[in-house]
Each structure stands twice: as structure tokens, then as C-alpha cells.
Symmetry: C2
Subunit: 597 residues, 2 copies
């Protein structure tokens, strides 16, 4: 984690060093770098003081971007002195973990520890519930409503609710139905003509005919769910309203996102981290997306941006858009390396990257790839057949490039990126293993249910998990069976997120709906809810300055010291309970190892 400028808690680091008989020293230089918040009189899109061109040369080798002083150095094979990832070490570690999670005694041990954590929390609750409540009641001015909560997992193309999209479509038609909104080689269409061609009139359009909401039909059917992104089942409308590239340069998409942003600003205590897509089909995607972002000034102080990369190499390869997997990685990473080296010539992209806080890896995890990542796997530039690489393969190469990129960006005083993949929504348990090794935090994590060893590791390392029980309810797992409550009680660091308000939510405040339903179904206490809200801030890509403001000046400390109840409304009794319990588990392992020696 430190090698890639991602986060790892101090407490287990200390224990790990103690086990190795080393001395742990805190090192703030290993922390991720977030762009400071835009100041009041500052233009979020200003590109005035971008650093000069370093003139470096970049080249991808075996799926990883290498940085050279110049072309000659590249020819000599002498990259700059940056920590590059080591595939052999990764595969070794992975194999070690693979063996570990399958080992009988380890499974028994972790299973028992997890059961113990559950029971211990029940006891804590019975003994201290009223005390926690008393603390909160005596905490002036702060309650669940004015605690900041971050929607840690949401897709930009579905960040508005269905009713909002419907209203927006109707309004766009009312305001200018004669506008040309479609252009191809042989024809142009106005909004009116487009709707005529689809045989419908926006006035008659309803939430039902829009048909973007997930229902009983989508359960266990990710394919059907993906089709729901097409309003009225028409990809033309998706292109027009929910894409950044079209005949109107993505204006509608930008406008509706800004409306969502302004709703968040009105609600004041809610933030979101929407994902925009980079597919890796062409290196032009980056400048185009950046240009859209700058042109429409898609900014809200209550939004932090992320990039999601769909794992759809197989689709591109089968259509012959790409010669091999390495090209996809090149298209995804080389443009941002270049913008990092030479911001002056990539102004819009540089500005855009300033607003990006991390990368996500997305797609249907339940599709099995059949590939097993090993030292013998073809290198990305050799991966030219039509089959999709495994989840682990994707994740490793994203991590590897983000790691090099973060070093370069940190050197230049630029913000770094977190890796926050979708993981464990479905599919093999190896996904969660790969993310454990590479990710700052993950979305979903449902399958931790299936592996006590990994669940315990996620607990010990306090890897944040953005859970979306309403999304799961429509796709993979019924609400009442969602492990959110179980994970939360055990002390895993879970936050609540909406995933796709367009498909899953009914009300104008999807994040509040998500919290309200969890509170009702799982009977969460105020302290539970505020704890989850606090975790959502910690997990997020909000800047250091914003976290100081939201969580208090010691937020980077672990345990009760790091909590400012006046800001978080989380009881200190709860914080103490979590911290003591966590240290106890870590200590148990340390002591156990000592006694073996």
C-alpha cells in the first residue's frame, strides 16, 4: 500500500513491525496526495500555474509504463529511478495468500475470531447502548442529519434518480425540440425527429416507459441490468442524455450531473464520488473526456471524481478494435503519464486529473474468465486472443501502473490516485484476494461472507468497503440477507453507497433513502449510522483539508483519539470499544507468534 501511496492503518503496521522485531516509525510521506479544495474565489478549471514540461519519454513494457529521461535512455533500457512493480513478488505473495485462505487451521481460527467479534459486539451493545445514546444526546448541535456522509460508490451515468431523468428529458424537449441532437454521415436529427423516430412523445413519457429502474427481472441478470441504462430501451437516448460524446458534446449529460451536484450542495451534508468511464479503446478518450469536463465546467464542491475502467477487453478484441491487452493498458495509462510529464501541452487533461481522486475497475464479476494468473501467463502485449483476462490480471496491471504514476505525480507535487475497484459483488473469492493486495478500498465485498480468512484480513487491515444493499437487492442478494449489518457489528469498516440511484432508488435523496432503509431493516442505532457516515468520509477521496473540517483535527489518529464527537456524533465509548477490540485481535496474533518462537 505504501509503495503505491495508498492508505494502510498505523496500528496493524506497528504490530507487524513489532512481530518482525523492528521499530515502526510513522511516515507521512507515504500518504496519498489529494488536491486541496477549490477556494472561494478560485476557478476550479484554472490552468495558469501548471508545471513545466519534464521532457521525459514513456513506454509501456510488459503492461507497465516505464519512464525514461529521453528516447535514447529508452533505447538503452535505462528507466528513471522509480519503484517499479515486481510481478514475481506479487505472484509469490498471491500464492502465499491463496494457500493461506485454504488452510484448515487458519479457517477455523479466523471463523472463531469473527464469531467472537460478533458476540462481543452484542455484549457491548447490551451493556453500553444507553451510555452511547447519552453521549450523543449530550452532544450539542450535531445529529445524524448534519453529519457529513459521502456516497462512496456511485456511477455518473446513473447518479440522478429516474424521476429526475424523466423531468430533464421533458424539459429539454419543451425548451428546444428543434435542436439538432444527432449527427451521422448521412443524416442529422432534431430532438423532435429523434423522438418521432422512436415513436413517442416526451409528454407521454413516464417512469414506466422510461424503464430504467431495476426490478424483479434484473435479479441475477447483470446483462438485463446493463440494458436498463438505455431509456425506453433506446441506446439513442442513452447516447444523448447519459454520454459525454455525442452531437451536442455531452451538454445534457453535464447539465443533469450539475443539477445532481447542486441538489447535494442544497442538502449541504451530502457528498458523492461519481465515476466516469475510460474504456481503453483509444488514447483519444482521455482528452475528449477532459475537454467535456472543462467545456461544461462540470464542478460541484460536493462531488469528487473517479475513473472507472470496464473490464471489457474481450468485447473490443472480438470487434478487432484492439490488437492485444497491452494496447488497452496503454490507452488507459499513457495519456495520463504524458499529461503528468507535460501539463502545459495537456492543459485540459491536467485540470481534469486534478479533480480525479482514484480509479475503479468495473464489470459483471459473475462472468467467469477461466484464466488463472501466474508467472506463466502471457504478458499483456502477448495477450491477443479473444478471451478476457482474469479479474486478478486486470487488477494487478491497474495497480502496477497507478503505482508508478503516483510516484511520478507525487514528485511533481501533483495529486495521486487511489485504487478502489468493485470487488466481491459476485464471482470467485480470488477477486477479494487480489483487491486485498492492491486496493486502498473496495466496493461491495459481499463475498467476504464466503471466506472467513479474507474477512478477518479485511477486518485487521480495516480496508474500507462501500456497500450498496439496495443495489444488491436488485441484482445479487436479497436485502435481509445482506451482510452489511454482520460486517458492521464485527467491526469491518463499511460505508453505505447508492451505486445507481437511477436504477434503484425512489426518492429525491437517494443516499438518505439508502441510510433510512438500512436503519429501518437492520434497526441501526444513531451511533451505528453516524459511525457508518464517519467511515464514508474516511474511505472517500475528500481532501485532507475537508476531512479536517468534517472529522476534526486528529482524524488521522486511530481509536478514540481520532474522533471528535462534536463533528462526527460517534460516541467515544463506541470508538474505544472498536479500538480495544481491534488491538486485542492484533495482539493475539503477535503473542501467538511469540509463543511459537
Amino acid at each position: 500500500m505504501h509503495k503505491s501511496f495508498q492508505r494502510f492503518p498505523k496500528t496493524p503496521s506497528q504490530f507487524l513491525r513489532t512481530i518482525e522485531s523492528e521499530v515502526w516509525k510513522p511516515n507521512d510521506d507515504l500518504l496519498p496526495v489529494f488536491s486541496p479544495p477549490v477556494k472561494k474565489d478560485e476557478d476550479p478549471f484554472q490552468s495558469g500555474n501548471l508545471p513545466e514540461n519534464l521532457g521525459y519519454h514513456v513506454e509501456m513494457k510488459e503492461g507497465v509504463v516505464y519512464i525514461y529521461a529521453d528516447k535514447a535512455a529508452a533505447a538503452r533500457g535505462e528507466p528513471k529511478d522509480l519503484p517499479y512493480p515486481n510481478l514475481d513478488v506479487f505472484i509469490d505473495d498471491m500464492n502465499f495468500l491463496l494457500a493461506l485462505i485454504a488452510q484448515g487451521p487458519v479457517k477455523t481460527y479466523t471463523h472463531r475470531r469473527l464469531r467472537f467479534l460478533s458476540s462481543k459486539f452484542s455484549v457491548h451493545e447490551m451493556l453500553n447502548e444507553m451510555e452511547e445514546l447519552k453521549e450523543l444526546k449530550n452532544n450539542p448541535h450535531r445529529d445524524f442529519y448534519n453529519c457529513r456522509k459521502i456516497d462512496t460508490h456511485i456511477h455518473a451515468a446513473a447518479c440522478m434518480n429516474q424521476k429526475h431523468l424523466l423531468r430533464f428529458i421533458k424539459k429539454s424537449y419543451r425548451e428546444n425540440s428543434e435542436r439538432v441532437v444527432y449527427k451521422s454521415k448521412d443524416k442529422t436529427l432534431t430532438l423532435k425527429q429523434l423522438f418521432e423516430q422512436l415513436n413517442l412523445h416526451p409528454y407521454d413519457l413516464t417512469v414506466d416507459s422510461l424503464d430504467v429502474h431495476a426490478g424483479r427481472q434484473t435479479f441475477q441478470r447483470f446483462d438485463k441490468f446493463n440494458a436498463k441504462y438505455n431509456p425506453v430501451g433506446a441506446s439513442e437516448l442513452r447516447d444523448l442524455y447519459l454520454k459525454s460524446e455525442n452531437a451536442i458534446n455531452g451538454e445534457y449529460f453535464a447539465t443533469i450531473i450539475k443539477e445532481v451536484g447542486s441538489d447535494l450542495e442544497d442538502a449541504k451534508y451530502q457528498y458523492a464520488e461519481p465515476r466516469l468511464s475510460i474504456y481503453g479503446r483509444s488514447p483519444e478518450e482521455w482528452p475528449k473526456l477532459a475537454s467535456w469536463f472543462n467545456a461544461h465546467r462540470v464542478y460541484s464542491p460536493n462531488m469528487k471524481w473517479m475513473i472507472q475502467v470496464p473490464r471489457i477487453y474481450d468485447v473490443f478484441r472480438s470487434k478487432n478494435f484492439l490488437p492485444h491487452f497491452g494496447k488497452m493498458l496503454e490507452n488507459i495509462f499513457v495519456p495520463i503519464f504524458q499529461a503528468t510529464i507535460n501539463p502545459q501541452d495537456n492543459k485540459e487533461l491536467s485540470v481534469f486529473l486534478r479533480h480525479i481522486t482514484g480509479f475503479d475497475s468495473v464489470d459483471d464479476e459473475s462472468k467467469h474468465s477461466g484464466h488463472m494468473f501466474s508467472t506463466k501467463s502471457p504478458k499483456p502485449e502477448e495477450w491477443s486472443h479473444e478471451k478476457n483476462p482474469s479479474y486478478t490480471y486486470y487488477v494487478y496491471y491497474m495497480y502496477a501502473n497507478i503505482m508508478v504514476l503516483n510516484h511520478l505525480r507525487r514528485e511533481r507535487g501533483m495529486n495521486t490516485f487511489l485504487f478502489r475497484p468493485h470487488c466481491g459483488e459476485a464471482g470467485a473469492i480470488t477477486h477479494l484476494l487480489a483487491a486485498f493486495m492492491t486496493a486502498d478500498n473496495i466496493s461491495h465485498g459481499l463475498n467476504l461472507k464466503k471466506s472467513p480468512v479474507l474477512q478477518y484480513l479485511y477486518y485487521l487491515a480495516q480496508i474500507p468497503i462501500a456497500m450498496s444493499p439496495l443495489s444488491n437487492n436488485s441484482l445479487f442478494l436479497e436485502y435481509a440477507k445482506n451482510p452489511l449489518l454482520d460486517f458492521h457489528q464485527k467491526g469491518l469498516m463499511v460505508s453505505l453507497s447508492t451505486d445507481d440511484p437511477m436504477q434503484f432508488h425512489y426518492t429525491k435523496e437517494p443516499l438518505m433513502e439508502e441510510y433510512a432503509i438500512a436503519a429501518q431493516v437492520f434497526k441501526l442505532s444513531t451511533c451505528d449510522m453516524c459511525e457508518i457516515a464517519r467511515y464514508s468520509v474516511l474511505q472517500s477521496g475528500l481532501s485532507h483539508e475537508e476531512k479536517l473540517h468534517i472529522l476534526g483535527k486528529n482524524y488521522q489518529e486511530e481509536g478514540p483519539q481520532g474522533n471528535d464527537i462534536r463533528k462526527t456524533n460517534v460516541a467515544q465509548i463506541r470508538m474505544a470499544y472498536r479500538y480495544e477490540t481491534w488491538c486485542y485481535e492484533l495482539d493475539l496474533i503477535a503473542e501467538g507468534l511469540k509463543s511459537i518462537e
Copy 2:
């Protein structure tokens, strides 16, 4: 039902007449009378054209108000020719039903029919779900969002959510903290002094310290739940903000209710039927409440009013406020009989009654009374001991008086009242039996789970049930175990309601929250939700004119004929399924009886 001008569906009436070899004729004169909606330029509080004084004399005898031409007629014991209730017939019918619900073969039969209804709906769903969806998609302009939905069960004193109440308290303090808000014999207090006395400052007040929300502590504890009506646990604040009688003449209470009303008007498609309390402790309660209602002009086109009568004779008797139960009934009913006879001298009350659509009977049903209603039970004026009468006893006497009252009011061209008690939230199964005999519709109905015979009867008679699964979740039954889905699938006429947004809900739109959670947890389809919304309108006390507007011109017809999909967004396939299934069940009984003959 007809005798009391309450509703009973035509279809079972027809079958019942056929069984008796009689001919059924529709008779609109037996329908309840609702006040027409207030017209645009009309004053909802106008008292200009009230009818003249009839000069009748009223007197309560054995718990029922009798109407006499004058005092002399009363002395002679010659009441006006109105249908008075017959206690012996009621007790006979009740005993018949008591025997019926306990009879083995009847239990088996109804249990099987209900299971059949469940399975049949599953089959309907599997076969026709996509067809229903297609109908809705092709239905222009109408979707779940712009279907009218009525909050059929909500208490005025808890009709705002906790955040709204908090904001209101803070605002009242900011605007005028020097206002005198408390007066007693020896002292007066300003708002500032009141808060000082409670040792808190409104600025520091939070949702947590307000502490009006139900939590895990209230489950199975109706007593604790009732205490939640006191903000910050202080009855002074309840008196000030949630009561119509206090030093500021209930101004705050009126204002906050009107704010809720105006939110409903903004939402446009949502209505509510809040309950105001009449306790029966004194006959002055009516004029006082009416005066509050008129003085503060508590009116919203999106609200229909109801009166709730708490069943707390035992409390009043133990404090010696009342000599016997008959006095309580007198205090509740005599003032409205008098206002009905002589509106001119009871102007405010007459105006108020015009806005009232029905009566509710409320209190903790889980408290066992130990009394069994029979012909030998003491008459209300003989009921002078401290024990509370049984639920059935309360309900019978409310029904009896409403029946006489409705006849009188109908004769005078005034609106009549429905009886819509809380019933089956907890307690004995006899509650549901008593309501079956006396009520137009009920709130809760959870305990129908426990009696297949009664459940089947509620189905056959299509008695509407306002269910509040979020309220139940905090008080009596976990969400996932709520029978709402089961009842709905079988074809019982269930609607969704909030009960107490202050205690149970989190968002600004409690009714939408209620629908959203039900939709998510129970995976309701759009057709299900629109069907429930349609039932809520039918169940409500909205006027004939409003129902015509909301449901279409044939809304009083049963089956698909009565449905206008353009207004209700309920698929005709669904309507046909429900109607055919209903007729099939009714026919089965009719045919079964024939074959016995």
C-alpha cells in the same frame, strides 16, 4: 354497514342476496356522505349558510344518544323515528361469529382458500407480469410518481418528521424567544425561560436530544413509545408544540401542521388523513378543538381530518375525572349531536365537523382488559369501576352513536362519518371480529395473520386495511415478517400509511419513504404499488368529487370496469384477475350452500 352509512362492496352484497333468494338492487342512498371539496374562491371556514335549529332534545340512554322532538317527548320516552342500534342483535351476531371463527371445518376451509389465493397470485404473476408491465408502459403520462396516494393513517401530533419539528422549535426560538408561552396560576414563562428551566438552548438541540424517534428500545413497549411524544422527554414541550390547548392557543401546533399540509400541496400527489384527539373527559373538548381549528384556519386541500378517541376511560376514572363510562360517551357524542341539531349556535364546531370524515379508536391493544362483552355486561352508565371496558365494548358504543348521528346528519344534508378504528395491531383476535361488524375500514390488521376465518372474511368483504409496516417494525413486528405482502398477494385491500412520521421516518417525504421501503424489501412491481395507491384513495375519506377526479368516473364500479388506467396506472389485467378471483370465491360459497340444500 348500510345501516350506519358506511361502505360495503356491491359484489358480495349481490351474492348474499342471491343466497337468500332475494334480488339485489343498488341503492346509492346508503352511501356515506362526504363534504364536497372546497372550491377555489370559497372560504373553507365560512359559516354563512348553516341550517336552522331543529330544536330537538338529545339524551343518552344506555350509552346511545337518543333524539327527541323536545324534552316532553323525552320524558314520555318517545324518541324520533330513527334506526337505533339493537344491542341484543349485535351480541347475537358477535356470538355467532365467535363460534364461526373457532369452528374446525371453517378454519380448514378458509385456510385452504387463503393458501389457494396466494398460489393463484404467484401463478398470475409468473404468467402476466410482463403483460401488466407492457400495459403500464403504454399508458401515457401516468406513472407511480403522479398517481395520487393517501396517507390513510397518520396522527396529527406526529405528522411532521423529527427534523421538521427540530427546525420548527429552533425557528420559533430565533423569531421570538421573549414570547410568553406558559401560564399557570402562579407563574408565566417566556420561551427563553422555558428552555432555561429545561436547562437547554435550542441552538444545541439535536434530533438525538429531541429524542422523539422510536428505536430498539420501543419494540414491544408501547408505553415507552408513548413517552416519545415528549420532545427532550419534557411534557412542557409537547404541550407547547404538539397540543391545541396551551398558553398560545395551540398556535405552534397549527402552524407546523399547516407546514406539513403545504409540503403535501407542493408534492401535489400526496394527501394525508391526520387524526386529532377527543378524549371524552369533558364536553368542552369539542368547542375548544373547533375553535383552535377555526382560529388558526388549519386547512389544506391535501388533508382530510379525523377524530381519534383514546380508550383511556380507566385513567380518567382512577383520577375521578369521570363518574362512569356513559359520561365519557356523552362527552364525546352529545356535543356533536347538538351541533348537528343547532348549527347556528355551534358555528365553529359545525364548520369543523364539515371537515371531519370519520372516527378512529386508538390505544395500546396489547393491554388486556379482562372484560368479555355480553348481554350481561353493565350498561355504560353502570360502568363505574376503574377497569377499562373491552375493545369490543368501546367499539360497539362508538359504532352505535355514529350510526344514529349519521342518520341525523344525512337527513340534514350534512356529511356523515366513517368508523375507522385501529384494530389488530396487537391484542386479542376479538378486536378484529368487532371491527368486522362495525367498521368501514381499519388500521393495522396484523393479527389477521392469526385467524384464517377472519382473514378470509376481510377478503370477501374487501374491508380496507391501512398498514404501517415501519411503525410495526418499531413496535410490534419486524419488517420482513410483516404480512403486508402476503395480504396484498392474496387480494386483501391494503394501503400503506405512515402512522407517526415523527417517530418512524427519516426523510422529508415519509409516505414516499414508506412506499419505497415496501417496494424494496417486498420487491413490489409498479403495478403492485399503483394498486396499493388506488386502494388508499378508495379507503380514504376523500370526497366523491375528488375520487372521481383521481380514479375516474366509474370508480364506484367493482372490477376492471371501475378502473381508469390513465388515472390509476393499474393494469386492467390485474383488475380482471382480482375481480375474477373474488367472484370465484364468492360463487364457491353460494354454490356450496345450494348443494347443501
